[in-house]
Symmetry: C2
Subunit: 271 residues, 2 copies
């Protein structure tokens, strides 16, 4: 049921391996009558993955030099295919509606290509794993499609803000913001107790537009006394300048695709 | 970032392995100075996993007898820990609100333990993988927490029904149902084109209560000309008899935990 690009270990148990871990194994090879990749290439790929995740060159097998940082950046880009797959789908399947609303319902909204989301989650999770988030905060419903697989990869709980109170909520944090897309003021609510003062919170969402929604989430995080560590989104509408609006928070903002303009129903992505 | 219980192969590529596949490798062992499991046990576990997923005893290494079906059932139960983890959390963390509403917001609603959801998804996906679904249909927002990881495991797209139309929807299927929990009539909408006549649709949701919501989804599937293949839920409120209400559809209904009664704020689970 799973597909592996690189496989390192036999693991049986439920231990926490995110923060630290030991692994003492010799690298061995299966006698395979069908190979899609050479042995050397396999080892290099595996080491790239490990170096990428743990930022540690000790995984390099003896006799192979540790890669220079520029190599790693280059290798990382090759390791992940989420951003290029997403850009491709936006150009092929996103539609521009009146008021320049970008309709992505064919692949990442009410119809979700979860294989695509999984690849995107790998790439975004990798960009923030070294900042060691303890929780992911997103907004229901559309943010969940990327936040859920990222929470699995980063091994942290997922909290989502709702746009309305439910009857199970008694005590909650609330922040309001203006939605341009829907041309109205909106409320976001998060139950108290879902965020705590020692949390390092990564904000994850499908879109970054003018940044007012993320700003509301940041106010909720501040209200809870927690620490925000960054903002990860699938698609950034660069022309709405959300990144600039949020710059005062001095947080890393990462997107996998940036729309620079929408002209006559045509979507132009940043190169 | 991943944890493996059993590892079979080195795989590089994007091929479809869900429906069929060939794998010709000798089983080899890493020279490990730390082992959490014996070699024989490791092979048996791996074979159980493969037999469990593909229902095929050919994976047994030579000299080891194929397990009897009763063994497999027993082994399968041990393979998955989702149901027992979920039952444990319900007993420890679910609260009973007025009108006997079960509040699960501490672990599978607005605060989501995605590691728990991942384990539950493995167990539910396994129960339906042999029915070869081509799509998962759920209801926003709360159904997504289990439907998203199941879609990744079953390698199928995920479609969710919304409780209100959005501005990107032009042509859609709609069905209404009565929600007891919220004491009102509700609408579910799914864009036309998200389901097609050759789809085999697995309905996935967080709760099965009286079954009226799942019945609405089944009417939408029928409206689209697609074929429903089953219903998978995390928690079944057995006392609301949803299973009986839906029995006319003659579909497999699987839940990981069944609440038989709620007395004085105490939740009683089926043994």
């Amino acid at each position: 049921m799973c597909q592996f690009r690189t496989v390192m270990c036999y693991y049986d148990g439920m231990g926490e391996t995110f923060e630290s871990g030991e692994c003492e194994v010799a690298i061995v090879f299966a006698d395979s009558s069908k190979a899609l990749i050479t042995g050397t290439k396999a080892i290099m790929n595996m080491c790239e993955t490990l170096v990428g995740f743990w930022d540690d060159a000790e995984f390099m097998p003896q006799g192979m030099r540790p890669p220079r940082p520029s190599d790693i950046d280059f290798q990382k880009k090759r390791l992940f295919s989420g951003a290029s797959m997403l850009r491709d789908r936006i150009l092929k399947q996103a539609r521009v509606l009146p008021n320049n609303i970008i309709d992505v319902s064919a692949f990442m909204e009410s119809y979700i290509d979860m294989a695509l989301m999984e690849e995107c989650a790998k790439e975004l999770a990798d960009r923030f794993s070294q900042l060691r988030p303890t929780k992911i905060l997103t907004v229901a419903t559309t943010g969940l499609v990327i936040a859920a697989p990222m929470a699995v990869l980063l091994q942290v709980p997922l909290v989502y803000a709702r746009k309305q109170r439910t009857m199970v909520m008694s005590d909650y944090h609330m922040a309001t913001y203006a939605s341009r897309t829907q041309n109205m003021n909106k409320e976001l609510v998060v139950s108290k107790g879902h965020l705590s003062a020692d949390d390092r919170v990564l904000i994850v969402d499908d879109f970054l537009s003018a940044g007012s929604c993320q700003d509301a989430l940041l106010r909720i995080i501040s209200d809870a006394g927690a620490k925000p560590i960054g903002i990860a989104v699938l698609v950034e509408k660069a022309y709405e300048k959300g990144r600039m609006f949020l710059s005062g928070y001095n947080l890393p903002v990462e997107s996998l695709a940036a729309v620079v303009s929408v002209d006559d129903g045509r979507i132009n992505l940043e190169e």
